[in-house]
């Protein structure tokens, strides 16, 4: 069944952009002396209230994620958000997209925590697992060389913890347990739904497709997305799975207002605001170390690293440096009146054959605007999108 997801980033709004522009980056080494606890506490109140609104307007899930050491997302543990969601909502799925397995460090404890979230929410957990951006491993001092191996081993261990009666011994390459036997297990059987979010890394597509896990593309460029779903379908079929729309998801940035004109005007401001949250790009000379934070040793294959060096095309901030008009033209943002947004989201749905569409809202200072965006989505966009999806 066609599902609509609401992606909340939990950004810190209002740090001094001039300080970030001067430093040349808004992550990892951008000093937390610019953090204000009172401000953050206010913002968390608001984001938690937003969860409730998102449920009321008809989203099927609320999506939370994990990032470290950056104001763009104050979300060091998605499980904490998921716990709040379990208590303040009653219907929506709680989609963790996802826990960064290599950073988490203790798969058995993670399996236990996720079990509690599933129990607290009466079986509403969707558990996403990710490798994380390289910078997350650097922030947590986890050896990037082993990222892929740890990801796969932690996944296997969590799945076994959920599905095979304990106690059992685990002697892997990276994890060693004498006695795995957590008492509290998930409510969903055989285990909570697993979905794999990604941003086109071929290995992650393979990981999901081989296991028949739905793959969710996170605001990837459209042509790259065509290719990754073609790859996904081929690999899944080879592995004996029958890929359906439910196996494919696409999340993108959406803003809706009563008219195209108003939406486009607000969207420009929001694009600028998100650019500033992530990059302070407006007047920023990028710090010379940032490229290394995106590609530390072993994080990508040598072939990919050589290719990247040879064709210096991709920059870490490609989305943000392209500018607002280009972002609209390439459909990296869906912005407009309800009619426009229905049409463009439906085009993406059909183009990728996805059964999951995700809306990532750009948080702005004006919370009223966020609420209006959500209400318009619920009242005018979703019913029509669901009708169109049901007609297929």
């Amino acid at each position: 069944m066609f599902q609509l997801h609401y992606f909340v980033n939990h950004p810190y709004l209002g740090y001094p952009h001039e300080a970030a522009a001067e430093f040349g980056a808004v992550m990892l080494k951008f000093s937390n002396r610019h953090f204000d606890g009172e401000r953050a506490a206010e913002l968390f109140e608001r984001y938690h209230e937003e969860y409730v609104v998102a449920e009321q307007v008809g989203f099927d899930s609320i999506v939370v994620n994990e990032h470290h050491s950056a104001p763009a997302a104050m979300s060091p543990s998605p499980n904490i958000f998921a716990t709040v969601l379990a208590k303040v909502t009653s219907r929506v799925k709680i989609f963790i997209a996802g826990n960064i397995l290599p950073v988490n460090g203790n798969p058995v404890r993670l399996a236990e925590e996720l079990a509690l979230i599933d129990l607290f929410s009466k079986g509403r957990l969707i558990s996403g697992f990710v490798r994380g951006g390289a910078v997350e491993s650097l922030a947590m001092s986890v050896n990037t060389l082993h990222n892929r191996e740890i990801f796969a081993e932690a996944h296997d261990l969590i799945l076994k913890t959920w599905t095979e009666p304990g106690p059992f011994v685990w002697e892997g390459k990276h994890y060693h347990y004498r006695c795995v036997n957590p008492w509290a297990l998930p409510m969903q059987k055989p285990h909570p739904q697993i979905m794999i979010p990604g941003s086109t890394s071929r290995e992650t597509v393979e990981f999901a497709a081989e296991r028949g896990y739905p793959y969710v593309a996170l605001a990837t460029r459209l042509e790259a997305t065509d290719q990754l779903f073609a790859d996904y379908n081929e690999i899944a079929e080879q592995a004996g799975h029958v890929p359906t729309p439910g196996h494919r998801g696409y999340f993108t940035r959406v803003h809706v207002a009563p008219t195209d004109e108003q939406a486009l005007e607000e969207g420009r401001e929001q694009f600028g605001g998100r650019v500033a949250q992530i990059t302070s790009m407006v007047d920023m000379k990028i710090h010379p170390d940032v490229a290394a934070w995106m590609a530390p040793p072993g994080y990508v294959s040598r072939e990919a690293a050589i290719a990247r060096r040879r064709y210096m095309g991709g920059t870490p901030y490609a989305f943000f440096t392209q500018g607002y008009e280009k972002a609209l033209e390439t459909r990296q943002m869906i912005i407009g009146s309800p009619d426009t947004v229905v049409r463009q989201l439906n085009e993406l749905r059909l183009r990728f054959g996805v059964g999951h569409l995700g809306v990532s809202h750009f948080a702005v200072e004006d919370y009223g605007r966020t609420r209006r965006n959500l209400e318009l989505l619920g009242e005018e966009v979703f019913p029509r999108l669901r009708e169109l999806a049901a007609e297929d």
Partner: protein, 266 residues
């Protein structure tokens, strides 16, 4: 400079095939490169080869030297290299290394102290600086890190080796070296708490060669090795950074040759 006139490439096998650049005559000096990699038979090799039989292994995981899949740190790496020396019949020699290679050499010396008549550590890693301002190999682009290892990165001696156009082979070695460095020194960052205490076992003479302006392993690090090694002395190379062997090859080689002469291994 014509490489082939001065050195040969040989392969030793102990626990895994190890490529070694070998040249010169005299007592054997085994010289380990560090995270700067094996960038050919360079001036410091040539100068050392005037007095020593220089054996410069390419560290496992780089180029033709194979990395066994069980290697997970410097002690494992030391075992691989000791086994290769066994295979090469290298019984008594002077052992030295630079930066991460110095750390590996120190580990080898603590394991088999009697085997090495002399130990040369140049800007050796293996102890923590604990300083946020120390350049971190994994938090910046590789060649930018290397540039911090020079007293003057605008000099021709840096530019010639690191700053020109470089081909896919050079980039491949950058990646191989980075991956090996991450395997050995990502966490804890480039150190091992057991290294200095265990060096007390090594009572033969040791030379610490340090660039006067080393910011990667600042001179205070040399002091720690001086304290840890019972019979050690320090040679400071003026106008040099961390990679003194590359930046001031002549002065560096002179210090090592002088040390070797005192050992009476000729």
């Amino acid at each position: 400079m014509n490489d082939s006139d001065q050195h040969a490439r040989v392969t030793l096998t102990g626990l895994a095939p190890l490529e070694v650049l070998r040249g010169g005559n005299g007592p054997t000096l085994v010289w380990l490169h560090g995270e700067e990699g094996q960038r050919g038979w360079l001036p410091h090799h040539a100068r050392l080869a005037e007095r020593f039989t220089v054996m410069a292994p390419t560290l496992p995981g780089i180029g033709a030297s194979e990395l066994p899949d069980w290697v997970n740190g410097v002690p494992d790496m030391a075992k691989v290299l000791l086994a290769a020396l066994d295979d090469g019949g290298v019984r008594e020699c002077i052992l030295g290394g630079v930066s991460m290679g110095g750390w590996i050499a120190a580990e080898m010396a603590s394991m088999e102290p009697a085997r090495f008549a002399g130990l040369v550590l140049a800007g050796s890693q293996g102890t923590a600086t604990g300083d946020m301002n120390t350049p971190d190999l994994f938090l910046m682009p590789y060649r930018r890190y290397i540039s911090f290892g020079y007293n003057d990165a605008r000099s021709g001696v840096f530019q010639d080796l690191w700053a020109g156009e470089f081909d896919d082979d050079a980039v491949t070695q950058d990646l191989e070296v980075m991956e090996l460095s991450a395997l050995l020194g990502f966490k804890p960052y480039m150190h091992d708490r057991s290294l200095l205490p265990a060096l007390a076992r090594y009572s033969n003479p040791a030379l610490l060669v340090w660039g006067a302006n080393d910011v990667i392993t600042p001179p205070a690090v040399a002091e720690r090795f001086l304290d840890a090694l019972p019979a050690s002395e320090l040679a400071t190379i003026a106008d040099a950074g961390h990679y003194a062997h590359l930046e001031r090859a002549g002065a560096f080689a002179d210090a090592v040759i002088q040390f070797g002469a005192k050992l009476g291994t000729d």
